[in-house]
């Protein structure tokens, strides 16, 4: 998943980006409102974390413009302003949730996961699609109750596919959303990882969790246990 962090405080922004990177997200960073708006409008991102008090352009303005552009990805507000008036303004402008500064990283991470899950239409924190289940907060994939050993990149792929279960995801989208910018983009690598995932999840080739749609991409094929 590719996230965008717009925050003017360098320490906070870099720490947040690093920690989000540590838990498997590809993270873009912007230090002011204008740069942030450019990233938010032009980059393929899955979620934006936006500070409200930014130089050049306020966070509220960025949110309004991004929503006016028709972008629907979730937006999490970071704010030092704790009054309800400010929170309501942010949420009315088009944000989906807020975190008040100072915060624990775990709080941000939990909200990011919840928003991503919600954007894929999942209601609970466990993504259940029998016999598979994915716990986004613990980054665990189970099949038939057994925890699978996955590399971080394998996890990124299955998380992306499962959050969007039922949707066709192209190889290009997977490369865009999962690689960090400085990583060499090679779509063959995706095929290799998909192959490994299939072997780990379905060694007997019976449940067929990931479909390949020739020329179009991949689809997580298991039925959601609960969706809304």
């Amino acid at each position: 998943m590719r996230l965008l962090v717009i925050e003017d405080d360098a320490t906070l922004r870099e720490t947040l980006a690093q920690k989000l990177g540590d838990v498997g997200f590809a993270v873009e960073q912007a230090a002011d409102g204008k740069e942030g708006l450019y990233f938010a409008e032009e980059y393929p991102i899955d979620l934006a974390i936006i500070d409200l008090g930014l130089p050049e352009m306020s966070g509220l303005e960025i949110i309004r413009r991004v929503r006016a552009e028709g972008k629907t990805y979730p937006i999490l507000i970071l704010t030092a302003r704790d009054r309800w008036e400010d929170k309501v303004d942010g949420l009315s402008a088009g944000a989906d949730d807020y975190v008040v500064k100072p915060f624990h990283f775990e709080e941000v991470s939990a909200r990011v996961n919840a928003l991503l899950r919600r954007s894929g239409g999942w209601a609970s924190s466990q993504l259940e699609a029998a016999p598979g289940s994915l716990d986004m907060s613990r980054q665990e994939l189970k099949v038939n109750g057994e925890v699978l050993e996955l590399t971080s990149f394998e996890y990124k792929i299955i998380e992306y596919l499962m959050v969007r279960a039922g949707q066709v995801i192209s190889k290009a989208e997977l490369t865009d959303r999962l690689y960090d910018q400085d990583f060499e983009r090679d779509s063959n690598v995706i095929e290799v990882f998909i192959g490994r995932l299939r072997k780990k999840m379905d060694p007997d080739n019976t449940i067929k969790p990931i479909e390949t749609l020739r020329g179009r991409g991949y689809r997580f094929a298991l039925e959601r246990n609960q969706s809304d």
């Binding site: 302003r81 704790d82 009054r83 309800w84 008036e85 009315s92 807020y98």
Partner: protein, 460 residues
């Protein structure tokens, strides 16, 4: 921007100028017309006298005697001239007064008719002339046509008119100047209380006075009273800010001291957790101070109207996003079009904290009801805001503790205590109260009652 006195003086001057200008013009016209009419009557008399004096001579022509009854005809340059011409325009007789002058022949009137005209001599002297064409029948039975003409110089008449106008203008100018002078004195007296307010405000700014005095005319006493109210509330606000800042700075010192002690301590056990605990403490202190009410109710002069239904809808739309997974069922009961006299931020803080707590604790249902409360002398109605949920509820003994700042019933739901303490402070700043009881469904039911703002109170 011009001062009030200048505006009034300019307006009054323009009005006086218009009034006197029109009056002078009307009087001048009336005087001129009356004067001219009188001149015409006199000329008519002179013409009749000439007619009476005319006698046929031996040559069967009309002639006039050398001496006429009107002596001005005989005085050279007297300004009154007489003339008799035949139909061919030949002058048969001209008065001595017209010696050396050429009276213009002018238009010859129809036989038997009078004709008044304004003509002028060759040197430009304006004349009022009266001509009469007659058919004279002689004793021998013959008849001939003649034109009698009398003319009078208008020099003296015009001088009279100019003199009259000059006098009129002079008098009116004097009257206008006197009126303006009297008006400016009057204005100075009228403006005195305003200047007094200005001076007293300057004294307040300079610290020589604490409030405006109450010795003002009836029209200004209300303004002075409201200004005093504003000054008092500003002073209270400034005191409050100083107090808050002082409180905040001091309360942050303890956790800071604890953090420094931790850094210097050799015991590193649970260092991260203990350090974090101090950060949480500081955060809690700052959040509470930041979310306290924006203003006390004494500042009702500057309060606006909050559209209750609109703000509650905005709030609930926001909360639906935040509690997307829990999906609480909101039951809203707000009188359409209801207004709350207060600060929008304060209202959102009241409703936001209560609804947020209800969403955190509820099983599924959250209910909010807002009804206005009014009294006879109210200038703005109050409100009773009730939020209830179907959660575990709050035991009464814990309810009192909850109202204390920073007390938490459940550490897993941070900020609960702060939220309610803030609600309590805001309610108190509007002269209201907070009560906690059990809802019908067993959860918590929290009611904030804000009393109406009464006119009696605003007069105090």
């Amino acid at each position: 921007m011009y001062s009030l006195s200048s505006r009034l003086l300019i307006s009054v001057s323009v009005l006086l100028l218009l009034f006197f200008g029109v009056t002078i013009a009307v009087l001048d016209t009336a005087f001129t017309e009356a004067g001219e009419q009188a001149r015409r009557d006199i000329l008519d008399g002179h013409l009749v006298a000439l007619l009476g004096a005319a006698e046929p001579n031996d040559a069967s022509e009309l002639a006039l005697p050398d001496r006429l009854r009107e002596p001005r005809f005989g005085q050279i340059g007297s300004g009154l001239y007489g003339e008799l011409r035949n139909v061919d325009g030949d002058v048969l007789w001209r008065s001595k007064s017209a010696l050396g002058l050429e009276i213009p022949e002018g238009v010859i009137p129809v036989l038997g008719n009078h004709l008044f005209a304004r003509e002028s001599l060759l040197d430009g002297t304006p004349l009022l002339t009266l001509s009469l064409a007659v058919e004279w029948e002689f004793d021998d039975g013959n008849s001939k046509s003649y034109v009698f003409k009398v003319a009078e110089s208008l020099d003296s008449f015009n001088a009279q008119i100019a003199g009259f106008c000059g006098q009129l203008f002079g008098w009116f100018a004097a009257v206008a100047a006197t009126m303006l002078l009297a008006f400016s004195f009057l204005l100075r007296g009228l403006m005195k209380p305003l200047r007094k307010i200005e001076a007293e405000i300057s004294e307040i700014e300079g610290g020589d006075r604490t409030s405006l005095s109450d010795r003002f005319p009836t029209e200004l006493i209300g303004v002075a009273r409201n200004l005093n109210l504003l000054i008092d509330s500003e002073r209270a606000r400034s005191d409050r800010y100083r107090f808050t800042l002082d409180n905040l700075a001091h309360s942050l010192k303890t956790p800071l001291a604890a953090m420094r002690a931790l850094l210097g301590s050799e015991n590193r056990e649970d260092f991260g957790d203990r350090f974090d605990e101090q950060i949480d403490r500081m955060d809690e202190i700052v959040r509470y101070q930041l979310r306290k009410p924006a203003s006390p109710v004494a500042e009702k002069l500057v309060l606006k109207s909050v559209h209750v239904e609109k703000e509650v809808t905005r709030l609930i739309d926001g909360l639906k996003k935040v509690y997307h997974d829990k999906r609480p069922n909101f039951e809203v009961s707000v009188q359409p079009g209801m207004q709350f006299r207060g600060d929008t931020g304060d209202f959102l803080e009241l409703a936001g904290n209560l609804l947020d707590n209800a969403c955190k604790w509820c099983e599924k249902n959250v209910r909010i009801s807002i009804v206005p409360s009014a009294s006879e002398r109210a200038i703005a109605s109050g409100m009773v805001l009730t939020v209830s949920d179907d959660g575990p509820g709050i035991p009464q003994d814990a309810a009192d503790a909850l109202l204390q700042r920073g007390m938490r019933l459940d550490e897993s739901t941070p900020g609960h205590g702060i939220g309610l303490a803030v609600v309590k402070d805001i309610a108190a700043s509007y002269g209201g109260q907070l009560s906690i009881k059990q809802s019908k469904t067993g959860g918590a039911e929290i009611t904030v009652s804000i009393p109406p703002i009464s006119s009696a109170k605003s007069d105090s």
